[in-house]
Symmetry: C2
Subunit: 326 residues, 2 copies
């Protein structure tokens, strides 16, 4: 019987999932709109139905070895999602327990960036690396840190929340979804980029095509495209974003001394725009003992399916025995 | 034959060492002034002679199981000291190789804060803990991070340089010995406290007994004593120092999610003065998922011998088989 892992990526807007074989091939996919389900119980029931449908689309019988779930504030120890800034589910959601009422399989829940890090290690550019970090740049900023070939979970399962380190101490002007002020992800993320652009618009008198878009209508892609066309304010927004990211990645190195840091996700796809200022600030802020030793690279998995691939890698890593192959 | 470890703590001013038994008892001690030896070759030769003398003072024959050395910028992988900000030895010093020319024993070199962390784990308040960090507050600020019961060394042996994370991005007014500007240890350390006090003196018109002391004559103890006597500027200096430390310890938690953080060393001895503002800033800056979970505590080893004890614990941990006992 064909063995597969079920990888699930829960995002603030959408949830994507797939049956993924050991080699990283997607055999069936499913999607549902997370934000349509304010009750996690309903979400889980719908998700379980989708999985049944996915099974039916398979030409052959399959054995699901386990389920890997990447979700904001996913807690590996308890299988819970706890106080996520980017989801409608408040408090503590016992996700694994809820899902297990429908599907009796081993389930791992961790944050999406941890899943991305395992994906990078098994299928991406971190193959063979023992110490590295992955920074996911989407609606927010996530981070997964691998130490000696293993994900760093810490005492309570919540290590790697670099998006919630403070970049502007004492700042009063960037509120974060986490309830605090000045967090890195309020500056460095798709939303952070927009906020920075709006600050720049408010300060500047220069023309910009982006002055025609409302905050809610604008996407980071709009800003990237404007920057590519030479829009000065858009370029400045990327510049500032990279400066903040490079600075805090130098701090990350001073904590864990990785071999490499990978940038993953939508915003990271704007490669030159984000990479150049980030690299400059990163190397400019790096302590001398680390210089020339720590690489800053784009993820080897920057595709639309990477988050699901990472989640499935989590299951293979824990419940299968994955050989590092392509 | 009595088994001992040789623990050596190399500081900017003094080097202390001792034969330490498995239970943490000091059986013989030695000292030499680091700053008197600008050539590491000479330092090592003198150190080896001191060890011979120490051996002679022992009433019984001993077997040295190995040598643990804590030193600024000590590199565990190579046995080197690399570009230390606080020592006269520039570039890369092959300390273990130099010492092995005189003493043929297994030698471990790591930074003094890593040694303190192992000491805390074996003899101090971190007994039984798997995930914690130790912050050493001396001339500089060091940090040792333990993950799953093992020291975090990272890819190049230099993990845990929290003293060189940036606390004031873009600041132009606090140069660090590492060649950069705005590092945490320029604010939070014995020297940082003095610098902060001098900044406060420069800004304020209030009276203070500390206005009678030059920078070079002043110690952090002077400031602590003045604060205890109610000196407003001295108290303000501790307040600011604690604010900065608490802020960056919250960042440390967002990286590694430890169970506890211990404050160790001279400055940490000023318990109420430094602990209270640090705790306030720490809890005020902690992401909600960590609140009530991560303890901030004084070290259980705050004595004059703790650094040497930590260095010896390093040797016992690696070359002996230490039971966690008292």
């Amino acid at each position: 019987m064909k063995k597969v892992a079920l990888g699930i990526d829960i995002g603030g807007t959408n949830t994507d999932m797939a049956f993924v074989d050991r080699e990283g091939n997607f055999l069936a996919e499913g999607h549902l709109p997370t934000s349509n389900f304010p009750e996690p119980e309903v979400f889980v029931a719908v998700l379980a139905e989708k999985v049944k449908l996915m099974k039916k689309t398979m030409g052959e019988p399959i054995e699901i070895i386990g389920i890997g779930i990447g979700a904001p504030m996913g807690n590996i120890n308890k299988g819970t999602i706890e106080e996520p800034a980017d989801l409608a589910w408040k408090g503590i959601t016992p996700l694994a327990d809820l899902l297990r009422e429908h599907i009796d399989l081993p389930i791992l829940v961790t944050n999406d960036a941890n899943a991305a890090a395992v994906g990078e290690m098994i299928y991406g550019s971190a193959k063979g690396m023992k110490n590295f970090a992955v920074i996911t740049l989407g609606t927010g900023l996530g981070s997964g840190i691998v130490i000696d070939g293993k994900l760093l979970y810490g005492q309570d399962g919540f290590a790697g929340e670099v998006g919630h380190t403070i970049v502007r101490p004492g700042s009063t002007n960037r509120e974060c979804g986490c309830g605090r002020v000045g967090c890195l992800e309020t500056y460095v993320s798709a939303t952070g980029l927009k906020r920075t652009l709006f600050k720049i618009i408010s300060d500047s008198i220069l023309e910009s095509e982006l002055r025609d878009l409302s905050f809610n209508d604008m996407t980071s892609l709009n800003i990237a495209e404007a920057a590519e066309r030479g829009d000065v304010l858009a370029k400045r927004a990327f510049e500032h974003t990279g400066e903040m990211l490079g600075l805090k990645l130098a701090d990350l190195v001073a904590h864990t001394n990785p071999e490499a840091i990978f940038l993953f996700g939508g915003l990271a796809l704007a490669k030159g725009l984000i990479m150049e200022p980030t690299l400059r600030a990163f190397h400019g802020n790096l302590l001398s003992i680390y210089r020339g030793k720590v690489k800053l690279l784009p993820s080897g998995l920057n595709s639309k399916n990477s988050a699901v691939l990472g989640a499935s890698a989590l299951a293979w890593d824990q419940f299968g025995s994955v050989e590092a192959n392509t």
